[in-house]
Amino acid sequence: MISQHDRVLRDPSHIRLIWSSLIGAYLLSLLPWSGWALILEPNWMLLVLVHWWLREPWRVGQGAGFVAGVMMDIAQTGILGVSAFSFSIASWLTIKFRTRMLAFSPVSQAPQILPILVGARLVMLVTVWMTQGGEPNWLLLIGSISDLAAWIPITLILHQQDLRRSHPTP
């Protein structure tokens, strides 16, 4: 059983899936979102990262979270380091509770993921508020709902892809 698991981990198609999902999430966030769509846009990168933090923390770890955060800050033309900070905290929380969360099905994981998703947005809001001042835009927390809605299909698809690659149908 362990050697089977090991074989999957070393399978190049598995590594390709990790990379392509991360790049896909990045391209989705590069779409020209604006107005309400921007507020309701799920945090694609964070969702894909959470999936891999849960399942492959030794391959996609806290460092990957930091680098992805910096790339998100560049994509969003925001203050450099805001997403990186938020993703660093989210990665620690996810990896800390991953064994417990993995005991649940992807759908029942959702309520446990929600605090992490809300927390990530809250950290960004507070960091921007501390550096720029003014009124924090609390509306942005609404986006956590679309995060949660997008979480279930994203994790199901990625999980299914993983299974298909490890047990190819003849």
Partner: protein, 287 residues
Amino acid sequence: MSTREFFQRGPSPLVRLAFFCALSLTLVVLDARYHAVGFLRATLNILIYPAEEAARFPVYLLEQSAEFFTTQSQLRASNEKLNRQLTVFSARASQSESLQKELNELRSVIQLPARTTLPSIVAEIQHGGRNPFTAKVILDRGSQAGIQEGQPVMDVNGLVGQVTHVTPLSAEVTLVTEQNQQIPVRVLRNGLRTLSSGDGSSGTVSLPFLPEGADIQVGDQIVTSGIDGTYPEGLPVALVTHIDRSSSRVFARVTCTPIGGVGNDHYVLILIPPGQSASGKSEGTHD
């Protein structure tokens, strides 16, 4: 089976958390307080440029197909409107030319330097910055077209913002509505000078430093005063929409709506202040 997956090596998650948090907060402070990460940002921006273009492609296709299916009646209506505008604007242009000449003659009488016209570059807005925290837009032309940081940006109606970051092929414009973006302005009606400041997410501009009894009315037009040397004088900035005078405060709370189509217009004009060259690529002049 290697032991790599079973026995974790390296620092503990908590140590990693502390390290990455410290690193990201350092980045935040360096960027927000000292603007010291320009080089890193520029390099990464160039790296993601192909990805940005790839992500824009489906949207571009959608826009193109939508344009393709524009009906003839819509085209004719728009053409008629543009022709009508052209007549009005060319009449105004010839009028303003003679006025400019007259003004410069009068200025020479009282020995003031003549007002010159500014060269400008036309650029298209690529996307709205994608950041819910900031009011910025990204233009499709950059330093290769002669755009430099600090140049004012306007559209047909008025001031839109200021170029704050340039890469060879794109430029980032911070809008007048950005939190704490300050512009020296004056009230057109009576010449009252003050500073305008962006309100951030609400999409408005306020005048935070006007005393409670200041002579300002709803409907007053706010234009740039030109005293900072960044923005040329007289560009329309905003219209006063709400005034809250309360005797308990020293300053009145004045809220204005920006005149420039912040977030609406497709094309903008980047003005090149005197002394900066547009590397011979400017496309016209503007007062």
